[in-house]
Amino acid sequence: MSAPSVAVSVEGLTKAFGSIRALDGVSLTVGAGEIYGLLGPNGAGKTTLIRSLVGLITVDTGTVTVLGRRLPDRAVLAEIGYMPQSPALYADLTVEENVRFFAAVHGLDRPAAARSTADALEFVDLSPRRRSVVATLSGGMRQRVSLACALVHRPRLLLLDEPTVGVDPQLRAELWRRFTTMSGEGTTIIVSSHVMDEAERCGRLGLVRFGRMLAEGTSAELRRLAGVERLEDAFLVLSESRP
């Protein structure tokens, strides 16, 4: 089966929590192997959008198609890696036990899970701490374990909700180099972030506000659209403009 060239296609998504419209008609298309960055202020709807891509949100209206399958579809979840905004881990298990558990949950058999766990821990640079209990790790380390849990089964689509919060600059740069390598190998990555130098590394960016897609494009396109030099200023200018 040849991989579809469109990894994620979202159309007219709306979701209200009571009176709050977390998503208000979002449409989005992400090609296979792209790194797509979601930008937007707190409460813009980035997390809600990402969660709806793994079927965690039952949307009010609109359709979500992921890797050629219209959600809800349980089978396609095996090919998605989801890293929640706050590290969701078993604090009483070791690093290795956590990662291996999520490998098994995604259907890897024992030897494959062991191998992938070692690779994932290498990826987030935590191999030396693999036997540490998660509760004893630093905040940034927990974030990295959470990332390892999301990519241990080598998903074709990675959904990362602010993956590098609390990660030191050196390792952050290294992680982004690795994300770029993965995307070169065909993995699609959708990542939310508030960090502009990370946004610069995304192939394309989507600026979300009030549950709507305000602007989309490469960093250069967004800067040109806003008529400013720096992406940070473009973000501010475009966020201000009333939709």
Binding site: T58, A88, L89
Partner: protein, 371 residues
């Protein structure tokens, strides 16, 4: 000490209560419910134990005594034949039957001790006391009337007791041992599961599981599998300790006791998962413990016999899984029943049905909670 700082803490606690209505409802509602239960269980409006009376006396005292027993405020008397009474007792339809012997009046007139036979079911000590009390009161009253009328002495009452099960050789621990095995295991497993599952939710890992290809049933069955391994060890430990260290009386098959205990844990695991869906914090989950456990303890017949509950409470008792677990364990340990016994099979079947229903309910609520 600073009044303002301490006051800030008090105020914060009150604010938290205001945001947590459920806790307030528990604090103010639970005492009323629990005390009300105590009221109904310890006499208020409760049912009387059913007792058959068989009068074989050739003289007048037997009839007077039987009539007086019919007026008793301790027991609920029906008069019948000895054969019927015996079958009622073995069918658990009555708590006891009293046989007034043929020579009752003759012995009373000659000033001898009178010895009606009291046939007790024997597995529920709380049902023995009212029968003996009622008999004693009636003998005193009936013979006092006869003394006035016919000049007989007030006879000395020495009922001879006959136990269908158990008997005077059993002590309190023997009666409660079986019930407590079921209770202890049920309680512990329930508490551990409800907390474990709630943690899964509050730490966000349940959401991760929901974003994986796992089916909801996989999660529930996985939980059952993990907990049942521990629960099996626990059940064996508890049964061995009860039987061989505490020497609690057992007439039945030890494997059957372990099986019943395990079925109770299966119910407890799924009740824990199911109820954890209705709690958003561990604080609230802890509140389910008194709410789910205390009424079960009071109503499952461990201490207060179900037969003496007010009839509407008996209906409630029949809806609780622990009732059947406790009854089954008593059937095995005190009566020595095996799986060929109808009542025990019924108990086992009901507990299994509860387990299956709760597995379905736990799976269904899991689906609903992922919005």
């Amino acid at each position: 000490m600073s009044g303002r700082r301490a006051g800030a803490i008090s105020l914060r606690i009150l604010q938290q209560f205001r945001h947590d209505r459920r806790t307030l409802m528990l604090l103010f509602g639970a005492p009323i419910i629990l005390l009300g239960l105590f009221y109904f269980l310890t006499g208020g409006g409760s049912s009387l134990p059913a007792v058959d009376v068989v009068n074989l006396d050739r003289g007048p005292l037997g009839a007077v005594l039987a009539a007086d027993l019919g007026q008793s405020t301790e027991i609920n008397v029906a008069r019948t034949t000895e054969a019927r009474a015996a079958s009622d007792l073995s069918a658990d339809a009555v708590a006891a039957y009293v046989v007034l012997p043929a020579d009752l009046s003759a012995r009373a007139q000659s000033g001898d001790v009178i010895a009606p036979t009291v046939h007790l079911e024997g597995t529920q000590p709380a049902l023995t006391q009212p029968v003996l009390l009622a008999l004693d009161q009636s003998v005193t009253r009936a013979s006092r009337n006869l003394v006035a009328a016919e000049g007989v002495h007030v006879p000395v009452l020495e009922p001879s007791l006959d136990y269908l099960h158990g008997g005077p050789g059993l002590d309190t621990l023997d009666y409660f041992g079986g019930a407590f095995i079921g209770l202890v295991v049920f309680l512990l497993v329930f508490v551990v599961t409800i907390i474990a599952f709630l943690r899964e939710r509050s730490q966000g890992t349940l959401e991760r599981l929901m974003a994986s290809p796992l089916r909801r049933a996989d999660i529930v069955v996985g939980y059952i599998g993990g907990f049942m391994v521990v629960a099996t060890v626990q059940a064996v430990e508890v049964v061995v300790f009860t039987l061989y260290a505490l020497h609690v009386h057992n007439q039945g098959n030890v494997a059957l006791i372990v099986l019943l205990t395990l079925l109770m844990t299966l119910v407890a695991v799924n009740l824990g998962i199911f109820l954890s869906m209705f709690a958003t914090t561990e604080f609230q989950a802890v509140q389910f413990i008194p709410l789910a456990i205390v009424p079960q303890v009071l109503l499952s017949g461990i201490v207060f016999p179900i037969a003496t509950e007010p009839s509407w409470l008996q209906v409630v008792s029949r809806l609780l899984p622990l009732t059947y677990g406790v009854d089954g364990l008593r059937d095995v340990m005190l009566k020595g029943n095996g799986l060929t016994s109808g009542p025990l099979l019924l108990d086992v079947a009901v507990v299994v049905a509860f387990a299956v229903a709760l597995i379905a309910a736990a799976t269904a609520t899991l689906r609903r909670s992922a919005s």
